[in-house]
């Protein structure tokens, strides 16, 4: 047994900051790859928070959930990057401003 000197609030603040940075990246950048990376950043913030809560509550289910989130994130990135390659083949860029086929 060891004593953890950090409170769970520190982890809450850190995960909130990381999540907000990820949201900002999705909103600000126009490059699809960087938008994907921002989504990964958000997922990681939530993973960190789940692990922190699981440790502070002495319940290992949170860590199992993090494991599943990592699995789903890997599958999601695979399919997403395949879609990105298709978009690049069809439009010749990875700028989301080129995806205006459904616009008025």
């Amino acid at each position: 047994m060891q004593v953890l000197s950090n409170t769970v609030n520190n982890y809450l603040v850190l995960a909130s900051i990381l999540f907000a940075i990820g949201v900002m990246g999705v909103l600000v950048r126009r490059n699809i790859i960087i938008i994907f990376m921002s989504i990964e950043l958000m997922l990681n913030a939530i993973n960190l928070l789940l692990v922190a809560f699981s440790v502070f509550h002495n319940d290992a289910s949170g860590q199992v959930f993090v494991f599943f989130i990592m699995a789903v994130a890997a599958a999601e990135v695979t399919v997403g990057l395949a879609i990105l390659v298709m978009i690049y083949r069809n439009t010749g860029s990875v700028d989301i401003n080129s995806l205006n086929k459904l616009k008025w």
Binding site: M24, M70, A71, V79
Partner: protein, 167 residues
């Protein structure tokens, strides 16, 4: 000591995450994201989650980032491709993200302070313990995730093909 390591890792992860967002070159973004992932892995070590530390390094830094780098190099995107458009959407996005951060931090600030030090079970995040839980309580989600991987693999291959007519 614990607090100091936490502070250093937090500064590294937040700075690297900001660098991911604001780098002009996508390759630099990927490298900074790898740095962010390593600092988060350090946080897992601080929290005694050994299994997740290893899995995080292997899956994220070893597989997902390699995929990102592979796609960037494949599509030859390692040059700055910023369209010189108006700054209004960027400013609006930054303001929205900042407001979200303020809301989240305000919600955290309103919480009760948990006790500063708490005895934690150092063996909870070990491979043995998590494996027991994963294969007893969470066996069905584990098996379903294999079907998820299979469908994701098939989907990626179908999407990656040039066209389905010629083999």
């Amino acid at each position: 000591m614990d607090q100091l390591v936490f502070l250093i890792l937090s500064i590294i992860s937040i700075g690297a995450a900001l660098a991911v967002i604001f780098s002009k070159n996508p390759v630099y973004s990927v490298l900074f994201l790898i740095l962010t992932f390593f600092s988060i892995a350090g946080h897992y070590v601080l929290l005694n989650a050994q299994f997740l530390f290893i899995v995080h390094i292997i899956v994220y830094a070893g597989a997902i980032m390699v995929l990102f780098l592979f796609v960037i190099m494949l599509l030859n995107l390692n040059k700055t491709s910023e369209t010189g458009k108006t700054m209004l959407p960027k400013i609006a996005g930054a303001i929205s993200g900042g407001l979200l951060l303020i809301v989240l931090l305000g919600a955290v600030k309103g919480l009760n302070q948990s006790e500063a030090s708490q005895a934690i079970n150092a063996d909870m995040g070990s491979v043995k313990n998590l494996g027991k839980i994963l294969f007893s309580e969470y066996l069905l989600p584990f098996e379903v995730s294999s079907a998820l991987f299979l469908s994701a693999m098939i989907g990626a291959v179908m999407l990656g093909k040039k066209n389905l007519k010629d083999h």
